[in-house]
């Protein structure tokens, strides 16, 4: 746990006036505040630093303590205790020993261990204050990984949100990176205030057989040389079951076939789907018998004529 230079974070000198601190904080807040930088983790992290710096430097008591102990923050509590004991006992003075502070990084309100070591977990009131302040609970963010097969169908999923089971319905067609908001499933409100919301970002895992582009699906199917040349039928696997495809005679390697409406369901548009594009991969025969080789050789001779 290292010392944090709050003056440096706000771009100020140590003798900065209150007005300068307020101005610097507001300027940086307008740049990095999460309200103005949606889905930006770096901005959020930076804002937490700025917010903490402002929390300390804009509070006369905290600033005084921070300025007094600064880089000697590790000994702050003991110096405080010693000073209080001296005041109580009449100034005998006792030598204090070092003590390691420990704790989780980043409390509930996003303050660093350094801040909590100096000032504890309690936070001075923001605007308003008073014992019965009602605040909306904080918003939570979560990531949910699903397969392409799961994203293809509307299905239910149970999440564990801070020890609480939440059952959600995921509509078919959800896209990789899409964010869904679950109202009221965030942090509890304070003193009867409404709960925050839960934002879930979906990560749709890659599939070895199917590739998705928007609402279209792409897949490659192997077909035998004989089928490609003379035509026939092939059964293919899709995300909605098996399909029987007619292969035209003289189908070339790499031929693409578009199957309308057999692609990915369109999110929240029931009955509508994209297309499935099948690319044929013609397989050459292997382990030919003597007779087969001879027939191919005859075919080759016929081509020359």
């Amino acid at each position: 746990m290292a010392y944090i230079d709050y003056y440096k974070i706000l771009g100020l000198n140590k003798d900065a006036k209150d007005e300068d601190i307020k101005k610097a904080y507001r300027k940086l807040a307008r740049k990095h505040h999460p309200d103005l930088n949606p889905n930006d983790k770096e901005a959020h992290r930076r804002f937490q630093e700025i917010n903490e710096a402002n929390e300390v430097l804009s509070d006369p008591e905290k600033r005084k303590k921070y300025d007094a102990y600064g880089e000697n923050w590790k000994h702050a509590e003991h110096y405080e205790q010693a000073r209080q004991q001296q005041q109580y006992a009449g100034g005998s003075g006792q030598r204090m020993y070092d003590q390691e502070f420990s704790g989780d990084f980043g409390g509930e309100e996003g303050f660093s261990d350094f801040f909590e070591s100096l000032f504890g977990r309690s936070r001075s009131g923001g605007h308003g204050g008073g014992g019965q302040v009602k605040f909306r609970g904080q918003d939570y963010n979560a990531e949910l990984h699903i397969s392409i097969k799961e994203a293809f169908h509307t299905h239910q999923h149970t999440l564990d949100v801070n020890g609480k089971k939440v059952r959600i319905t995921i509509p078919a067609g959800i896209e990789n990176g899409q964010i869904i908001k679950l109202k009221g499933h965030g942090g509890p409100g304070v003193n009867g205030g409404p709960n925050g919301d839960l934002y879930i970002t979906f990560v749709v895992e890659e599939d070895p057989k199917f590739k998705r582009v928007g609402n279209d699906l792409f897949t490659t199917e192997n077909i035998e040389l004989y089928t490609a040349v003379t035509g026939g039928e092939v059964i293919i696997e899709t995300l909605s079951g098996k399909l029987n495809l007619k292969v035209k005679p003289e189908t070339q390697q790499g031929t693409k076939v578009r199957l309308k409406g057999k692609g990915f369901p369109i999110y929240k548009k029931e009955g509508q789907s994209g297309d499935l594009i099948v690319t044929y991969n013609v397989l050459l025969p292997t382990n030919l018998s003597k007779e087969e080789k001879e027939l191919f050789r005859q075919l080759k001779e016929l081509q020359k004529k």
Binding site: D35, L36, N176, G177, P194, G214
Partner: protein
């Protein structure tokens, strides 16, 4: 289902904001005020947005006209982010061949 209502006077007291700020938000069309027995209320649905506007004004010194412009820009930003996400997914397909 009827939305829960929050009294504007209570909101102002708890958050340390002035009634004039709420009035300016109403005049700008950013919030809707519901009158009941001559008291002003706001629906729970709008509370989240009102808290954002309060932060923009009190923490960042932005006036109501600015809040309106920011609201519009953030909305556009979210749309662009969604479109960018969709394009990234498509690009991944072509890069993989």
């Amino acid at each position: 289902m009827k939305n829960e209502l929050f009294a504007i006077t209570t909101y102002c007291t708890l958050h340390g904001v002035e009634q004039s700020f709420i009035n300016s938000l109403k005049d700008e069309g950013l919030i809707e005020i519901i009158m009941e027995n001559e008291d002003e209320f706001i629906e729970e649905e709008q509370l989240h947005d009102l808290e954002i506007y309060t932060r923009l004004h009190h923490e960042m010194g932005i006036n109501t006209e600015g809040i309106d412009a920011i609201r519009h820009l953030v909305h556009k930003l979210r749309e662009i982010q969604a479109e960018l996400n969709s394009l990234k997914n498509r690009l991944k397909f072509y890069e993989e061949g």
